[in-house]
């Protein structure tokens, strides 16, 4: 699909259910899977589909996201033509600088959209994790004559506790979407949107301008839901692994999923690799007393203690006599000697002093905020 489509990623989603993980960062910048951030997956999927022009709409807390993406070099998106465009909010006479919703955000980047020479736009959110290419979806979009094609998967109805923009699609046998529900208490369907939309960019421009002129501001609620019958919307089913980071509990479980070798193989398939910022960390070092089982560990880790059923991000230090089970330990956290952790999520740079004991539960992991000392 070289030069047929450009990508537009909206990273303005807000999710209080992710608690302090999103205190200082956008959902897109939430670390995932040992060495990645949420955004890496959609960005790599776009790049692996031959997309060379990607706009990234940021809303707030985007400092860590910009730090992560830099010039886009690691995704091969530092280009003369196209490449990665960061689109932060800005203040003009008809733009308040702060978006009320996705329509506001999309409207303020219409300048970017107009300059794009590609015919189609792949519009996406940033809190859904999968690894695919969009060739087939775009072909499907063209061959069905759809106005909008939405990616969906078969997904158990979400626990209301974890519900966060759970967009349920009623898809008929021809693939046509005939009804859409947002955060339904009792969903009528198992099909949930994966937050990826393909349409012609002129349609996007029209829909955004129209919604704005009526004072509407949420692209899902005010455009997708309302236009369900008047536009031809088609569903494109994706059967691969999908993680939606809806809440802290789900975040914990989806990280743990990666210990399953089939999930890991699916998400990290070598034919389309997942790119991320390279930190040039050294290989992980296992000490003479290390005792590690069923673990995913990134480079830069120094492991001298016992770790099982856990995901260790880059540069985690586990000292002698420490015992870590069923936990997700983010970048550069240090676990002191003799500390015992079970069912915890430690954010970046947390220091656990020697002999501390932290216990959560599968359904309710303990989260320690970034750079805290316990």
């Amino acid at each position: 699909m070289l030069n047929e489509a450009f990508g537009l990623i909206y990273t303005g989603e807000n999710n209080p259910k992710l608690k302090e993980l999103t205190l200082t960062r956008s959902v897109a910048a939430v670390p995932f899977g040992g060495r990645y951030r949420c955004i890496d997956f959609i960005l790599s999927s776009l790049v692996n589909s031959g997309v060379q022009n990607v706009g990234l709409i940021t809303q707030k807390n985007y400092h860590s996201l910009m730090d992560h993406l830099g010039s886009g070099k690691e995704w091969d998106l530092h280009r003369k033509h196209g490449g990665l465009f960061m689109l932060p909010p800005f203040l003009t006479k008809d733009n308040t600088g702060l978006y009320r919703g996705s329509v506001d955000a999309l409207r303020s980047v219409l300048g970017f959209v107009r300059r794009c020479s590609e015919r189609y736009v792949i519009l996406s959110g940033s809190h859904t994790i999968f690894n695919t290419t969009f060739y087939e979806m775009l072909e499907y979009h063209k061959s069905t004559g759809a106005d909008i094609t939405m990616m969906y998967n078969d997904c158990d109805p979400t626990d209301p506790e974890d519900q966060n923009n759970d967009l349920r699609l009623c898809v008929d046998e021809n693939g046509r979407i005939n009804d859409i529900e947002l955060d339904p208490y009792r969903p009528r369907t198992r099909f949930a949107s994966c937050d990826v939309y393909i349409m012609e960019k002129t349609l996007l421009e029209y829909l955004v301008e129209e919604a704005y002129s009526r004072g509407e501001y949420d692209f899902i609620r005010d455009v997708i839901l309302k236009k369900c019958r008047s536009l031809r919307m088609m569903g494109w089913r994706y059967d691969g692994y999908i993680a939606r980071l809806d809440s802290l509990g789900v975040y914990y479980k989806r990280n743990m999923d990666l210990l399953d070798k089939d999930v890991a193989r699916e998400l990290f398939t070598s034919s389309h690799p997942v790119y991320t910022k390279v930190k040039d960390e050294v290989p992980a070092k296992f000490g003479a007393e290390a005792n590690v089982s069923n673990c995913l560990a990134a480079d830069g880790c120094v492991i001298d203690g016992a770790v099982s059923n856990s995901v260790l991000f880059r540069g985690v230090h586990i000292n002698k006599g420490a015992k870590v089970t069923d936990s997700v330990i983010l970048q550069a956290a240090t676990i002191g000697e003799g500390a015992v952790l079970k069912h915890v999520v430690l954010d970046k740079g947390v220091i656990i002093r020697p002999n501390r004991v932290l216990m959560g539960d599968v359904g309710y992991p303990v989260l320690i905020r970034k750079n805290q000392v316990v």
Binding site: G33, V274, P283, C295, A297, D299, G300
Partner: protein, 403 residues
């Protein structure tokens, strides 16, 4: 072109025949090292960390692996508007052209590359040493001593001194004489193959040397002795950290082992002096519930299901269930099956070892292995396939797939 204070020239031409089959399809500097690196990452990262942004890499043997590894140099931060990293192969002109006949000839043939930056100094490096060194300190030493040339030296055990180029110095680090591999060494100051020259002076000497009929066009044999005879001031720059020539199978294995233990003889984990490399783009490594890992380096893309003791696993390598790997170096994407015993071996890139193999087995009675190259290290070549149940005796070299 903007003037540069110093330009580095990295001699990466070596075929590295003493590394045997490990270099059958790549030049020595492209040989993997330390889990995620290649030998050339060390001098290149040293350059960048020392503030040197222009590096010529001289190569003539199997340049493809090296060329594609270096790419634009972005992984070492050497994709620069002005300067950067350049691969410089030999070339022909209208009336002549030949392979590099010696280290000095390689530089001489590429003098135009250096001239375009009009540098004050030239740093000559070799591509087969593992060490971390701040060349800017060496340059400071060179300038302070007002030397014509500065040669980095390291103390080696006296009994090994006969294998090195030995610099005899006075108490002020001035080099009095130089002996290449002396039978009866007078000192143990071995040359590390790292030189800083005043560029103008060096180009004069290379010009004269290029027409000298019986010169080998070598820095150690011709240029340095020539400068000494001319009465120029040559000084030694003593270096006392880790440095290892990884020119043989034994030393390559040893250098990998030096990364292990607490404290390691050679510590890579140094945020102030990072070693950069091309990233393999792989997920974090996975340690299975049946795995046991003690005293090892493991890097991204690896999958460990067996026992790994005192070993280095490179990116994408796999160790199967109930397999015991000890004192070994497993190169990128090598796969070791289930139920194997691998002891003191180097397993080449992409090699596949079937289930229930024994690599590095006790020799049977009367079994004779030609192990001149390897000593007691067992070497499995790149992309070699070994079928299930095979026994490879200690010190053997497996060059082709066993059918």
């Amino acid at each position: 072109m903007k003037k540069k204070r110093i330009v580095a020239m990295l001699l990466a031409g070596g075929q590295g025949s003493r590394l045997g089959i490990l270099t059958s399809n790549m030049a020595k500097p492209a040989v993997p090292f330390g889990g995620k690196y290649r030998i050339i990452d060390f001098p290149l990262s040293n350059c960048v960390n020392s503030g040197i942004d222009t590096v010529g890499v001289l190569t003539q043997y199997r340049p493809l692996a090296l060329n594609s590894y270096l790419g634009t140099g972005q992984h070492w931060d050497l994709d620069r508007n002005d300067g950067g990293v350049f691969v410089l192969p030999p070339y022909v002109t209208a009336n002549k052209g030949h392979w590099y006949s010696g280290t000095a000839d390689a530089i001489y043939q590429n003098r135009e590359f250096i001239i375009q930056y009009d540098p004050d100094y030239v740093l000559i490096l070799s591509g087969d040493h593992i060490y971390k060194m701040d060349y800017s300190k060496m340059l400071k030493h060179h300038i302070e001593k007002k030397a014509a040339a500065t040669i980095a030296v390291i103390k080696v055990p006296m009994e090994d001194a006969h294998r090195f180029g030995i610099m005899n110095t006075d108490e002020k680090d001035n080099i009095v004489s130089f002996e290449e591999k002396p039978k009866n060494p007078k000192s143990n100051n071995a040359s590390m193959g790292i030189y800083i020259f005043d560029w103008k002076l060096l180009s004069e000497f290379m010009e004269n040397d290029s027409t000298a009929p019986d010169s080998e066009h070598d820095f150690g044999k011709n240029i340095i002795p020539g400068m000494l005879n001319a009465g120029l001031k040559l000084v030694a720059y003593p270096f006392d950290s880790y440095w290892k020539d990884v020119g043989t199978v034994g030393s390559l294995w040893e250098a990998n082992m030096d990364l292990l233990g607490e404290p390691a003889k050679f510590e890579l984990n140094d945020p102030d002096w990072r070693i950069y490399s091309r990233n393999p783009v792989m997920p974090p490594h996975y340690v299975d519930s049946s795995a046991v890992i003690h005293d090892a380096l493991v890097t991204e893309g690896s999958v460990v299901r067996g026992t790994v003791l005192h070993s280095v696993l490179f990116s994408g390598s796999k160790v199967g269930r109930a397999t015991r790997t000890s004192d070994s170096v497993v190169f990128p994407n090598a796969m070791i099956g289930d139920g194997c015993i691998v002891n003191k071996a180097i397993v080449g890139e992409g090699a596949i070892i079937g289930d229930d193999c024994v690599i590095g087995a006790e020799p049977l009675f009367g079994e004779k292995i030609d192990n001149k190259l390897t000593g007691d290290i067992t070497l499995i070549g790149n992309d070699v396939k070994i079928p299930a149940g095979t026994r490879v005796p200690r010190g053997a070299v497996v060059t082709a797939s066993i059918l």
